[in-house]
């Protein structure tokens, strides 16, 4: 096809959406970058002052620390638990049924989840009744683990589905060949199947990482804008700054977060590409 015609056709199909994306995301983000270097009230250029104020802010570091800890605990837990369930489900006749069961939490609206968490994790809730204890899980450091549980509960379904799709795409004759050569169940998994799941592994990691930000919903609906300290995440911070109209601090923080995420995503793409070629 002629180059000019190709451009024209491409623009015809993509431009309507692209205009909106430029208008609602790309251009305003440039404005956010500009604002991060100016004072919100006067619009004067203030250099790195906003960034300095963000980095001096204690709530910011609390949120960063909690979010980092949350991610560091949740990702490995979710990946391993998902892999374990997917292994149980591979070549299992009832796989379809169990996948549906595991996906069910995806359909549960967050307000509903929040209400049930209150019934389970309050001082007089089901968990304490089961354990015979009287711990206020939401009001102590345990609130962090409630959030972890909630995250794994909600995200396990698609993790299992992705792992399982990866496992099914490993050709049968490779595993058969390994078995004929005398490899047992364990060795087939470790040496034949797992190395082929690299791509799926990267995918699940990126998706689950970005879903950690959505845990804010349940946390917010259970405990409001200022939850127990250990549950205070970056999302809470952004929300509270937005509500207080601290736009200069917020724009600096948004630029930082976007930068960190961009580096993370590109790094993963690079690793992923290499994993694919190998």
């Amino acid at each position: 096809m002629k180059k000019k015609k190709q451009w024209r056709s491409f623009a015809f199909f993509v431009l309507p959406g692209f205009l909106g994306i430029s208008g609602f995301m790309l251009l305003p983000f440039l404005d956010v970058i500009r604002r991060s270097f100016t004072a919100a009230a006067t619009g004067r250029f203030v250099g790195g002052d906003n960034y300095a104020r963000v980095f001096e802010n204690q709530a910011f570091w609390l949120a960063v620390k909690n979010t980092a800890r949350f991610t560091a605990v949740c990702l490995p837990l979710l990946l391993l638990l998902g892999l374990f369930c997917a292994m149980l489900l591979s070549d299992f006749a009832q796989a379809q049924f169990w996948k549906s069961v595991f996906l069910l939490p995806m359909a549960m609206p967050s307000v509903t989840v929040a209400m049930i968490w209150k019934m389970v994790f309050s001082k007089g809730g089901f968990l304490n009744r089961f354990l015979g204890a009287s711990i206020d899980y939401m009001g102590t450091g345990a609130s962090f683990w409630v959030l972890v549980f909630s995250y794994v509960w909600k995200n396990l379904g698609y993790t299992v589905v992705l792992w399982l799709a990866g496992i099914c795409s490993v050709p049968k004759d490779t595993t058969e060949a390994a078995r004929v050569d005398g490899a047992g169940w364990v060795r087939v998994w470790i040496f034949v199947r797992l190395p082929q799941l690299k791509g799926v592994f990267y995918t699940i990691t990126v998706l689950s990482f970005l879903n950690t930000f959505k845990s804010f919903r349940e946390a917010y609906l259970v405990a409001g804008s200022y939850p127990q300290e250990k549950m205070y995440l970056l999302s809470h911070l952004f929300n509270n700054w937005f509500a207080a109209l601290e736009l200069d601090k917020m724009s600096a923080a948004a630029v930082c977060l976007a930068l960190v995420l961009l580096i993370f995503v590109l790094l993963f793409f690079a690793l992923f590409q290499r994993g694919e070629e190998a």
Partner: protein, 290 residues
């Protein structure tokens, strides 16, 4: 004899698997049962069970999965005597429908454009779309606010519909559906004199349908459950969607809260069950494999 032994081993293994899967599985299903059973309990029964939750009696919450005297009071009150609830319900329907429809109209052609016309710029732009798709709401919240405020749609439903309509996730998902596009067919069509638009209608649309449904199911679950956006962009409570509607203080209102949750859950479960295969397909397609 050997065959019997092998059969026994197989049954044992299957049982073992079921037990291991049921452990997490119970936690996935129990909340739904809890809601259903609670929504038909009388206010009296619920307040008995819930007292230890609101007052520090040192006692624990109780439960029966079959109500002592099943009642429909809560549903009747919500559906016939609580106008704000119905209002919130219709807000949700309106928002979700508007978002999904506009996403459909915008993203199917865009996905087609990206997969048919591949040159350096289109590939780069697609990467930008993927990165945008992966940015959480907190990063884009301020940018969206600036524009929405500028064009004067803050505190209206348009403030939620417009940014969501241009989400890049459905573009990505539908693009994946065109992966196995038969390129020879396109060339053959062009030689026969078909225009680019004809090719899109004749070849693109039928090919896209599966992933469009997948995007629809995932999108429905996402937007039916919108929390952050209405919280940030809508001040007027009468505009809020159902996903934020629950009696402010649940003490004494448990029955209403349960019934409201069930009503909120029904469309989600319905879409979930109908679109289960597409949901799965969508999840697999969103895998970032090129």
């Amino acid at each position: 004899m050997k065959a019997v032994f092998r059969r026994g081993k197989q049954i044992g293994l299957t049982l073992f698997r079921i037990v291991l899967l049921a452990l997490p599985g119970v936690f996935m299903v129990l909340p739904v049962l809890l809601l259903l059973s609670g929504s038909i309990m009388s206010a009296q029964e619920l307040s008995d069970y819930f007292r230890p939750l609101w007052e520090d009696t040192g006692d624990y919450i109780g439960w029966r999965f079959l109500a002592r005297y099943p009642v429909w009071d809560h549903y009747v009150r919500l559906l016939f005597f609580t106008p704000p609830f119905l209002n919130a319900f219709w807000n949700s329907v309106k928002l979700t429908a508007a978002i999904l429809l506009s996403q459909l109209v915008l993203s199917v052609p865009a996905a087609w454009g990206f997969s048919v016309y591949r040159f350096r710029f289109s590939r780069f732009l697609f990467l930008v779309y993927v990165v945008l798709m992966l940015m959480p709401f907190q990063v884009t919240m301020l940018s969206q606010y600036i524009v929405l405020n500028g064009i004067g749609v803050m505190n209206t439903h348009l403030a939620l519909i417009l940014p969501a309509a241009f989400s890049t996730f459905p573009v990505f998902l539908i693009y994946r559906g065109f992966r196995d596009l038969p390129r020879e067919l396109l060339e053959a069509g062009r030689i026969d004199g078909a225009g680019e638009w004809d090719l899109f209608i004749r070849i693109g649309l039928p090919l896209a349908s599966g992933n469009v449904l997948a995007a629809g199911v995932l999108g429905f679950l996402e937007y039916w459950n919108m929390i952050e956006q209405p919280l940030a962009f809508l001040e007027d409570l009468s505009l809020w969607p159902l996903s934020l509607y629950l009696p402010a203080d649940a003490a004494g209102q448990e029955g209403i809260a349960f019934a409201a949750s069930v009503i909120l859950l029904i469309p989600a479960i319905f879409v979930f069950l109908l679109g289960r295969d597409y949901l799965e397909k969508g999840i697999v397609a969103s895998a970032l494999k090129e």
